[in-house]
Amino acid sequence: MSAAVASETPRLTVTGVSKSFPGVMALQDVTFTVRPGTVHALCGENGAGKSTLMKIINGIYSPDTGEMRIDDEPVRVRNPIEARAKGIAMISQELNYVPDMTIAESFFIGRLPTRFGKVDWAHMRREARRLLAEEGLDYSVNRKLGSLTVSEIQTLEILRAVYHDADVLIMDEPTSAIAHREVASLFAKIRRLRAEGKAIIYISHKMDEVFELADDVTVLRDGTVVSSQPASEIGPETVIAQMVGRDLDHQSYPKEHAEIGDTVLEARGLSNSQLFEDISLSVRKGEIVGLAGLIGAGRSEVVRAIFGLETLDAGEIEVDGQAVRLRSPKAAIDQGVVMLSEDRRLVGIIPQMSIKQNATLASLRKVIRGGFTRRREEETIAKEYFDRLSVKAPSSETRISSLSGGNQQKVLLARWLIAEPKVLLLDEPTRGIDVGAKFEIYKIMTQLARQGRGILMISSELPELIGMCDRIYVMAAGRLTAELTPDQYSQETILTHAMNDSEVV
């Protein structure tokens, strides 16, 4: 179990850490040790608790129980500023930077050096120039960050962290945002940092990266540590198996047989130069089709593009065999294509409106007719669907923002059912809602399929895809990498295709 065979003191130890959020146990009794001069890979599926653990180490969350030690000294880190002071730096997955800031400023932001109370610009530029020179970079320190590539900014972030004496570097999927050829130089940098004695926590889904870099590997699943050992003692297959777990439970999905009819949605060669390339997929009547992939694979973007929320550079869409152009959600809805967004709060609810008004928003023609709002009809229609979906709310006048996530989701489903769609694009329909509501949403999906509607569902929960879908497409790095039929279903297969960004179907 323990990799720290050497007598050296671990750089960072996390012991018995638990953290719960309302209704979710995010981390349970997690113990985690990082030795100086090593790269420690942290693996796990989406939602396994990796981010929560890193946020605790970085002081963004405080743990419910457990303690943290740096060089065997107990420490308390209450915010990222304290974390930095303790030598912990996080290079996050989504780089946050101010485009108008210069390179010199970015090195010192948060701790600008002052001289007689005035910011010492000369010192800043001198230091920044020295850092860049040491790294063999020759651009001006007055360049704005906005003019750099993501990989260059990432390099600067690492330089900054090291300059400010970071001993523990957390890298959250550092290769997800950079081009393939830049990965090698990043790895060289990481190896150099390791040689200098830094402790590096490396979060990644990509097994080849993990086994190329890591000295130790820890696997998290459902908020607990499944294994933690030297990389030499474990292989990629074992890690994937451990990430997934063995306890598959098909029985808990209310999947029923539905008559599969003609193709209702057909997409051919959809491309968007920034987001995805050459995506062809189809959904038939009565069919529930899954779209699997890792975060950032481009699944949501494809679905948003079909719904008219992203532009398409190329590709054709047919609904019921008719070629259509869906330039806006309005056009999509008119063609019977609707989308339930993964982001309920930003792209779903109108928080100031009642659940009734939220539900009828996409079908105003049904409730506002002949120049007047038919309040009674609106009430009847909304009630009917709220009953069918068993929305639990005090009244149809209740503001949607006061409901739980699961009930908000059901109201948004009601919005689309009232619009009587042919195809439903469901992006993470059960994310962030409790188990009971999840089951109800599965049942609704089953009913919709039986009514002959086509469903395309994105999910990051593999058991859910396996339990509900008649077919599963897998995406990686903006391309389709597999189309699987039920006899081919297994979490390992899906994950393997999802992590493969070179293979193309």
Binding site: I349, Q352, L364, T373, E397, S404
Partner: protein, 353 residues
């Protein structure tokens, strides 16, 4: 104490209770207040600002703002007056005023909705353009001797001043648009959450154009009435009116962050401002002090709006901690999403810690 104040909130009727209280207090402060003459006078005076306020409300609910209302009103009013003097046609004159108002607002709409420039900046520019245009048109001179045109501002139908009659008709139209039409519902949705509205199939850009057009009609017509009431085409009229026009909806519960507000609340807000100004005049309060009082009222109204919303946010978190189910209903929501900005305080009822 603060918690009790929130619980005391009587929801969407509170603004009317405040209006009632102001009227009662005013009638005690001055015996001249409740005379037919004075009441008619107040109603005539508030007409222009209230019509502008409906335009401001429309845009604020949709998440936008119009700083050009005062200048465009002057431009529209002066053009209307000039057209009347040239053609002697009241109808053409009114139409001309409305056309100017709509044209200016179409430019605003193009920049805001199509080019996605912030409304604040766009309408600030339009404020200067319209003011410059009307001054250039008149060479800074007032247009005098309007003849029968003054009827529009000074005339009466029986005991009812014409501006008041116009205000009543416009109030009904605005209420209808806001609460009965797809346009109105879409407006609330866009102001409430633009991305969600778009994803629900609402043509967001079109709704924004419509809102600016409605505002243009209202601002243009307000200009006509204003010039008729003062019996002159004043190119310098309406300075600062754009901000006064914002005051009424804000006092009346329109949320500055969009998505919330009612026609009736705006009317009440405008009447409160009108009555307060009137009673201060009657009791001899100096105009400098009057400004201070108005300023305080705006600050208090907005602070209350923000504060009561903060209470609501806490409530939501609380509810999401457990299950929202089974909680007592937030007392009678308005059928319009509206309620009012201040209404959000109601959500705190019964569930605050």
């Amino acid at each position: 104490m603060l918690a009790r104040l929130k619980a005391l909130d009587t929801g969407r009727y509170s603004i009317f209770l405040i209006l009632g209280a102001v009227v009662v207090v005013a009638s005690f402060l001055s015996e001249n207040f409740m005379t037919t003459n004075n009441v008619t006078n107040v109603l005539r005076q508030v007409a222009v600002i209230t019509i502008l306020a409906y335009g401001a409300m429309t845009l604020i609910i949709a998440g936008m703002i119009d700083l050009s209302a005062g200048a465009v009103m002057a431009f529209a009013g002066v053009v209307s007056v000039i057209v009347y003097k040239d053609t002697s046609s009241m109808l053409l004159a009114i139409l001309a005023g409305i056309v100017v108002g709509v044209a200016c607002n179409l430019v605003n709409a193009f920049l805001v909705a199509t080019l996605r420039t912030p409304a604040f900046i766009v309408t600030l520019g339009m404020m200067m353009i319209a003011r410059g245009a009307v001054l250039q048109l008149t060479q800074g001179q007032n247009v005098l001797q309007l003849g029968d045109f003054v009827v529009l501002g000074q005339g009466s139908l029986g005991p009812i001043p014409l501006p008041t009659l116009f205000l009543v008709i416009i109030t009904v139209i605005v209420w209808y648009l806001m609460s009965q039409t797809r346009y109105g519902r879409s407006l609330y949705a866009v102001g409430g959450n633009e991305e969600a509205a778009r994803a629900a199939g609402i043509a967001v850009e079109r709704v924004k154009y419509q809102a600016f057009i409605v505002n243009g009609v209202l601002v243009g017509f307000a200009g006509v009435i204003f010039m008729a009431r003062v019996n002159a085409g004043l190119p310098n009229a309406g300075v600062g009116y754009e901000l006064q026009a914002i005051t009424a909806p804000i006092i009346g519960g329109t949320s500055f962050s969009g998505g919330i507000g009612t026609t009736a609340g705006t009317l009440a807000g405008a009447l409160i401002v009108g009555v307060l100004g009137n009673i201060m005049n009657l009791t001899g309060v100096g105009s400098y002090v009057q400004q201070i009082v108005m300023g305080v009222i705006i600050a208090v109204a907005v602070a209350y709006d923000v504060w009561s919303k903060r209470g609501k946010r806490k409530t939501v978190i609380l509810k999401n901690d457990g299950e929202a189910d089974g909680q007592p209903p937030a007392s009678g929501e308005a059928p319009v999403p509206a309620g009012s900005g201040t209404a959000s305080g109601r959500q705190g009822k019964g569930v605050s810690p």
